[in-house]
Every structure is written in C-alpha cells, then in structure tokens.
C-alpha cells in the first residue's frame, strides 16, 4: 500500500514537469508548426542559468524562473524572427516548411549545445536546495514545490489562452492561419510569440529540473525525446493532451523504475512505438 502510494506520488511529481516540457513543444508545433527538436537545449539553458545564479550569487532557484522564462522567451522570438519566419516565407507548402524547419532545429540543437559546452564545459554540476523530505511519504520538499510551480504556470497559461485577446489570436492562428490573417491577426507575430512561449516553458522547466537533478550540457536531448513521446501520446499540437500525456508518462516511469530502473527508457519507447502504430493521432488528437 505504501509502495503504491509512493509510486503514484513520485509519478505525479515527475509527470508535472514532463507535462510542462511537452506543452511547450506542443505549442511550438501546434501553432508555429516547428517541430523543435532543439527544445531540450533550452531546458539545459534554463537549468544552467539557474545553477549559475545559485552557486555564484546565491540567487533563489525558484525566483530565477522570472529570469529564465523571459530570457528563453526572447531567444524564441529572435529565433523565430530570423530563422523560422524566413523558412516559412520561402516554403511553398506547410509540409515543406515542417520538414525544413525541423532540420533547421537540428542545426540549432548543435549550435546551442556547443555554445553551452564552450561556456560551461562538459562537467556535471549539482546543488542542494530544499532537499528535505516532507512528513509521511518520503517526498522531497523541492519536488512538491516544483509541481506547485508547474500548476501555477499551467493555470496562468490557460487563463492567458482563454481570456485574453492575444490568446484568442493564438487559438485562431492554430486553427487556420490564413483566415486568421484575413481577419486582421498579425500571424507572424502570433506564431513568433507562440514559439517564444514554448521556449519559455522549456526554460522554466529547466530551472525546476536543476533543483531536482544534476545538470550538464548534454542533458537536453533526453528531455527532447521525452517531450516528443509525451506530445505524441497526447496528440501533436494539443496542450491538454500534453498535460495528460505528461502525467501518464510520469506515472509509468515511476512504476517501471520501482521494479527495474534500467528499463525505464525502453518502456517509454515501447509505449511510444505502440501508440504511434495503434493511434498516431494521440489521446486527444482529432
């Protein structure tokens, strides 16, 4: 009984962060149509900024999300403006754009990762922050706090999407960019903002992950893969799907690693491949 409770709680805590990462990726693909395989690299950037601020100027890792979020957001806006927008203008069809932008994202993966390696080297770093366990179940406080941040960010984002003018423009551009443009939405601006918001989620997730795990400059790809799996689980482009998929994968990871930790990644892929074959549109896909 205690074991089952621990597995579920650990799974939910992990799943929350997976959900945040995947929601960012889903926003980038669902609206801006960029399958950003460099997503994990911005998680790494967020993690490293947080680690650097904490170890050098004792800046609080939780508060650092007000730095990592905006920094990655601006990076995303610039990246969209100078790379993906040009590719979109040059591409005759949306399929061509998806292919080219994904390959450009692979290029960005190498660029970002190697700039980071240049600055910070290939060592692994870690720090201690709120690593005390909460009474009852053996749950570290920092994990609970991380989940709390995820819930707050998700709620804020939901309100933004459903209750603001810009949120409405984003939803319109996701449904039909051409018509959205006809009714006066500045589509390129909206797509750029979506790409930036996606990266901001990666940056914030990176800050949280740096509290929980050690960081190194090659950590990004693993999280990109997890985000891809979650996004396919939930349905490419569906934000709700990303959250459901994230929680599901978190629970599954916690269950499998309870019995055999080295099988976790294999279990991810088996679920992923089965799902692609049985229901490629994902849980929430249309």
């Amino acid at each position: 009984m205690g074991a089952a409770r621990d597995i579920i709680i650990a799974g939910l805590l992990l799943g929350g962060i997976y959900a945040l990462i995947a929601a960012g990726l889903s926003l980038q693909y669902g609206v801006a149509r960029v399958l950003n395989v460099a997503h994990g690299e911005f998680i790494m950037i967020g993690a490293f900024i947080t680690w650097w601020l904490f170890t050098n100027v004792s800046f609080d890792p939780l508060i650092s999300i007000v730095i990592t979020g905006p920094v990655t957001f601006v990076l995303g806006i610039l990246l969209y403006r100078f790379v993906y927008r040009k590719i979109m203008v040059d591409s005759p069809t949306i399929e061509v754009f998806e292919g080219k932008s994904m390959l450009a994202a692979f290029g960005m993966l190498y660029v970002v990762q190697n700039i980071a390696r240049w600055i910070w080297g290939s060592n692994t770093y870690a720090y201690q922050y709120m690593a005390t366990s909460v009474t009852g179940a053996r749950i570290p406080l920092n994990r609970l706090v991380a989940l709390g941040v995820v819930v707050v960010v998700a709620a804020a984002f939901y309100v933004f999407l459903s209750h603001t003018r810009l949120g409405k423009a984003i939803r319109a551009s996701a449904l039909d960019p051409t018509t959205a443009g006809l009714v006066g939405v500045n589509v390129y601006r909206v797509l750029g903002i979506c790409f930036g918001l996606g990266l901001a989620m990666a940056g914030i997730a990176g800050s949280l992950l740096s509290i929980l795990y050690s960081v190194n400059t090659s950590m990004g790809l693993g999280y990109t893969v997890i985000a891809l799996i979650v996004v396919v689980l939930g349905g490419l482009g569906s934000i709700q799907g990303a959250f459901i998929g994230g929680i599901f994968l978190g629970l599954m990871s916690s269950l499998v690693s309870y019995f055999q930790p080295s099988m976790t990644m294999i279990a991810y892929y088996v679920v992923f491949i089965l799902l692609l074959l049985i229901r490629p549109k994902g849980i929430m896909g249309k």
Binding site: L35, V37, V83, K86, I87, D90, E95, V96, E98, G99, K100, M102, L103, A104, F106, G107, M108, L109, Y110, V111, Q113, N114, I115, R117, W118, L221, V225, L228, I229, V232, L236, S262, M263, M265, I266, Y269, V270, F272, I273, L276, L277, P280
Partner: protein, 316 residues
C-alpha cells in the same frame, strides 16, 4: 535536341567520372595509410548520404533511422566476423537490415510525414537502450571486440559499396519505381489514384536503401576493433548524412556526393584542429544552408555555371 559530338558535356562528365573511379581504385598502391583511412571515411559518408537520398530525395520523407541500420551492421560484424569470411558478414549485415527495415517500413510508412520522422528518431534510441540492456544481462559488459581487417581491405570494401550504391541510385531513379517515388513525393494521393502501389513502393525502396547503411556499418566495424551501443547507435550517424545531403543539394545525385565528400573532409579537418568548434560549425552551416542555399552546393555551382554561359536558366 540531341548532340552527338564526342565532346558533349555528357561525355565529358562520364569520362571524368571514369577517371575518378580508376584513381580511387588504384589509390592504396600510390599513397600512405593515413590518406587511405581518410578516404574510406569519406566513402562511408558518401554511402550513407546517397543511401539516405535514394529514399528521402524523391519522397520527401525524412528518415532519421540511418543510425539504427548502421548500428545493426556494426553489431552483425561484431558477432559474426570472427567465425565467417568478411564478404559474407557484410552481405549478411545487408540482409538483416533489409529484414528490419521491411518490418519498420511496413509498420510506419503508413504514417504521414512528421510521425514517420519521430518514429524513426525513436527507433535509434530504442535500439540503443535495448541493445545496452541485452548486453548487460547476457554478457555483463558494455561493449564488444570486433576481429579486424586490414586498412586496404576496408578501403576496397567501402569502394565497392560506394560504386554499388551509386549504380543502384541511378538505376532506381531511371526505373518506374523512381518515377513512382517522385510522384509520391509530389502528391501521394494522386499517385495512389494513378495506380502506384504507394505503400509497397515506399517500403521496398526504404528497405533497399537501408541495406547499404547496414553494409557500411559492418565494414566500419572491422576497422574500429571495439564497439558499444553508444558507438553503434550514435545519432550523429543519422544527422550527418542528412546535413551532407542538404548542403550538397538534393535535386540530383552529384549534390549528395559532393556534400558528403566536402563535409567529411571538412569534418576531419575541424576535428583534428578545432575539436571544440567542430559540431558548432556544423550546426551553424546547416541552419545557414537551409536559410540561404536551399539548392545546396550543387545548386550554387549550377547557377554559377549558367551565369558563365550566359543567361540560360539553371537546371532545376
């Protein structure tokens, strides 16, 4: 308009091609071992890139599974090369890859564009973790030793494979399958309605092209002496050929060959002199190439040539 002059550009390029092949064939007799090793490496990238382009070029399906087939080839050689003749091992590696790719293709080529790409990306990672886990349980070790072949054997094997992959690529382009593939790339549903067996064509060509990747892996394994899952299922093996094909230009077969040759050499150069900047330069070049030279190096050359000859349109 058909020209019959013996100095037509077609005959000149065929003669040039012949000279290049003869030079490559007698090269190990003329030069030092380092050059031979470097050339085998360049040929390896030509094989991987052209094999990737055979399928991805006409259809536009971006496969990221190259490393999976390459890795299957490496492991085939690692397990079998001690007990079997080298050519048989290479052929078996091709056969295994064909079977694996047939299965993968039959399962996944029903998926459209981006799902296919994600699946093939996942396949490499799955094989990496699965092989590592199997090795951990079965042998308790991380890697394996491979019984090696000498530098010249490896070079000639890779040379023969290069010729084979180029001939296959040309034959496929000129066959009805090549036409069917291009029509799939242009408009899949229209191709289906015109009587093309879309799935069968895609699966067959995908599996066929993977044979060369597996064979290249088996040949490389006999030079490395030691392999482990990280070496075999290395994502760089997937990305490099894609990068080289894009940089060379994918509208014909010369582009990928030029791209592979230029960037394999450049890679070697950067790796020995500026190892820290190596991947950074590659990433940046990839992004810039997609942004500014969508036709690749070959497209640039063709444009420059047509300007020199005065105003004629560059071949698309």
């Amino acid at each position: 308009m058909k020209r019959t002059s013996p100095l037509s550009s077609r005959n000149i390029s065929l003669a040039l091609l012949g000279i290049v092949f003869v030079l490559l064939a007698i090269l190990p007799q003329l030069t030092e071992a380092y050059i031979v090793v470097l050339l085998s490496d360049i040929l390896k990238f030509i094989v991987l890139t052209v094999a990737w382009v055979i399928f991805a070029g006409p259809t536009g399906y971006i496969s990221l599974a190259s490393a999976a087939f390459y890795g299957v080839g490496l492991y085939t050689a690692a397990i079998l090369n001690a007990d079997m003749p080298f050519p048989l091992v290479v052929i078996l590696a091709g056969v295994f890859c064909f079977i694996v790719a047939l299965g993968v293709g039959a399962l996944t080529l029903r998926l459209k564009g981006v799902y296919f790409t994600i699946f093939t990306f996942g396949l490499v990672q799955l094989l990496y973790y699965a092989v590592a886990e199997v090795e951990r349980i079965a042998t308790g070790k991380r890697g394996r030793f491979v019984s090696t072949e000498n530098t010249e054997t490896v070079y000639y094997a890779m040379f023969i494979l290069t010729v084979l992959v180029l001939v296959t690529a040309v034959l496929i382009r000129r066959s009805r399958h090549g036409l069917a593939l291009r029509s799939i790339g242009e408009y899949e549903q229209a191709a289906e309605h015109s009587g093309v067996n879309v799935i069968w064509t895609k699966v067959l060509v995908f599996a066929g092209s993977s044979v060369f990747m597996g064979m290249a892996g088996a040949i490389v394994a006999t030079r490395r002496a030691y392999i482990d899952p990280g070496i075999a299922f290395d994502l760089n093996v997937t990305f490099m050929p894609v990068l080289m094909a894009i940089l060379g230009g994918m509208t014909n077969l010369i582009g990928p060959v030029i791209g592979a040759a230029v960037f394999a050499y450049l890679g070697e150069f950067l790796l020995t002199r500026l190892p820290d900047l190596y991947m950074l330069v590659f990433g940046a070049v990839m992004v810039l190439a997609i942004l500014f030279f969508p036709q690749g190096l070959w497209g640039l050359l063709a444009q420059g040539w047509s300007k020199l000859r005065g105003g004629r349109r560059a071949p698309a």
